[in-house]
């Protein structure tokens, strides 16, 4: 009798265990699914909310040169140009530095206290909040740029696309640098040793073995940097000068897609105005996602 009760109890408890296990597995699948739903919901929200602007402006939204909420005309070209200019200039400025760090840490000095310090400091660049970069830029960099502009003879406004590019360039160095470092360290030493055995100097090994071998990885790092630069909001908003005119030169004030959203979103009093800002967000979202995806694809192809 006693044993029968015991087996019954055991059976019951193992049945319960199986049920809990099922619930647990179901819960895991559900969280996996909820992530997909979250991303789809973000896309759907952006698309649905920007419908009024898409209806009114159509494709002219991208090429329209005037952004005038008072007259209810929304052309995003000044902001597209502003985003492209700041991001690509920042990229150009940052590439020598990030590739330099990558080669320094990956090839010349992979170990030692100084290399360790440099590696950690470069990673800290990414840790500083962007609003602090913006504040510093406003207080220190803007006066410096103003002096520089007076010297070369352009209107000394200080704020503008050039200043934003400088700040952005600093902020995006770590992304390309850390990926570059890891791909450079993955170069098989037999390849390098072979080149040395043929009498190549250090620079020749870097130029003809390391760079060709790692170029897709370095490219992916630069793409990740670009993705970061495109979406950066606060630092740029604080130093770009915020005007909706098409920028005339790299020293003139402007606006990027992200900065115009940050500035005008809470002021948008008209449904189309709000929708136009959201459409900017949608464009930004699509562009950064595409760039990040290409970068990730290149990395995964490189590491396999």
């Amino acid at each position: 009798m006693i044993t029968a009760a015991k087996t019954a109890r055991k059976k019951k408890s193992s049945l319960r265990q199986i049920r809990v296990e099922k619930i647990f597995r179901g819960g895991l699948v559900l969280t996996g699914l909820s992530l997909v739903i979250l991303v789809l919901a973000i896309m759907l929200t952006l698309v649905v909310q920007s419908v009024p602007a898409i209806k009114q402006m159509g494709a002219g939204f991208i090429w329209g040169k005037t952004w005038d909420p008072v007259r209810n005309i929304y052309g995003a070209f000044p902001f597209l140009l502003g985003t492209l200019l700041t991001s690509f200039m920042a990229l150009l400025i940052s590439i020598p530095f990030s590739i330099g760090v990558a080669i320094f840490l990956g090839e010349y000095y992979p170990n030692g206290w100084f290399a360790n310090l440099l590696k950690n400091l470069v990673e800290l660049i990414a840790a500083v909040p962007s609003v602090i970069y913006g504040f510093w830029g406003l207080a220190v960099l803007v006066p410096l740029v103003r002096t520089f502009e007076t010297k070369i003879g352009v209107a000394p406004v200080g704020v503008g696309i050039f200043t934003s590019s400088l700040i952005l360039a600093t902020m995006i160095i770590p992304y390309a640098a850390s990926l570059g470092r890891s791909v450079i360290q993955m170069v098989p030493s037999t390849l390098k040793e072979g080149a040395y055995a043929l009498g190549a100097t250090r620079w020749e090994v870097i130029r003809s073995v390391i760079i060709p071998y790692t170029k897709s990885g370095l490219f992916a790092g630069i793409l990740l940097s670009l993705g970061r630069a495109l979406g950066e909001t606060m630092a740029v908003t604080m130093v770009i000068g915020n005007t909706s005119l098409v920028p005339k030169s790299i020293f003139s004030p402007g606006n990027t897609m992200a900065s115009v959203i940050a500035n005008e979103f809470t002021e948008a009093d008209h449904p189309t105005y709000l929708a136009a800002l959201i459409e900017l967000g949608l464009v930004l979202f699509v562009v950064t996602v595409i760039i990040n995806m290409i970068g990730k694809k290149v990395i995964s192809r490189f590491t396999n």
């Binding site: 996996g32 973000i42 010349y108 504040f135």
Partner: protein, 281 residues
């Protein structure tokens, strides 16, 4: 031939010097920022600064108590949302390497990681601010939680994937059900990596401003009601830094020192932990 060899060696040396120059030069802005902010803000740091509210323009003194409380509350709520979901999702991804759903959710994590923070702010505005008719701290927390998720998920997945299969197999051989294997064996073994990921994600969002602009919005008074607008450190810095008043700039410098110290502390602490526990992130 000899001159050519000398030339090549010289070229190599020059290139090495250029590399060293660029590597050292790229940390100069960081050092300049740290130096300038500490110099400008350190004299504001005293006890009053932490316990008082900001004073109106023209009055000396004042503190950032509202922003400290607000930041803390917003981050805690964000962490409460993101950590359970993130860890569960990480477990799911590490347990299901090849299923179709896992492929799509891994893709979603990649997308989430690349979303500009301002876009997250817009979306949370439409999900949580507009329907309820008021800016609220909780909508800011949701925005920050969305930004935390990919980091927590990635670190959990990577950590659990590195654990040896024999560990799980031994537990299964003892007759443990799946959920107990995961919760009692796998997660405790990987807890160091998971915790590092969580701390890294908190460090990443503590300085985020853009997603809070249209959600938590900011509030000049002390508020602990997460259904209402709330101040946070980055928002306070942004609002006061872009104001035309010197008093407010000073306040923003002090707040920058506090925020910077907090973020750098979290980062360095995480780094020490990961190197001590030999975690790969």
């Amino acid at each position: 031939m000899k001159t050519s060899l000398k030339f090549r060696i010289g070229k190599s040396g020059i290139f090495q010097a250029i590399t060293i120059f660029f590597s050292v030069a790229c940390i100069l802005p960081l050092l300049a920022i740290l130096y300038y902010i500490i110099k400008a803000g350190i004299q504001r740091i005293n006890w009053q600064f932490f316990v008082e509210l900001p004073k109106p323009v023209g009055e000396a003194g004042g503190g950032i108590a509202n922003a400290l409380v607000g930041s803390l509350l917003i981050i805690v709520v964000a962490a409460l949302i993101a950590i359970p979901v993130g860890i569960l999702c990480g477990i799911y991804l590490s347990e299901n390497k090849n299923s179709r759903l896992a492929y799509w959710s891994r893709l979603s994590v990649d997308i989430l990681q690349g979303i500009p923070s301002i876009v997250v702010g817009i979306v949370c505005y439409f999900w949580l601010v507009k329907p309820f008719g008021s800016f609220s701290a909780v909508s800011g927390s949701v925005a920050l939680a969305i930004m935390m998720l990919p980091i927590v998920i990635r670190s959990t997945e990577e950590t659990l994937r590195l654990l040896p299969d024999s560990l799980k197999e031994a537990a299964f051989a003892l007759g443990m059900p799946f959920h107990r294997v995961i919760l009692k064996v796998v997660v405790p073994c990987g807890i160091s990596g998971i915790l590092s990921g969580v701390m890294l994600s908190v460090a990443r969002i503590a300085g985020e401003t853009a997603p809070l602009l249209f959600t938590a919005f900011g509030n000049p008074y002390l508020s602990t009601n997460i259904g209402r607008p709330m101040q946070s450190l980055p928002l306070l810095i942004f609002n006061y830094a872009t104001s035309p008043y010197n008093d407010w700039h000073d306040l923003a410098w002090g707040a920058s020192v506090v925020l910077l110290a907090f973020v750098l502390f979290l980062n360095i602490f995480t780094k020490l932990m990961t190197s001590k526990w030999k975690v790969q992130l």
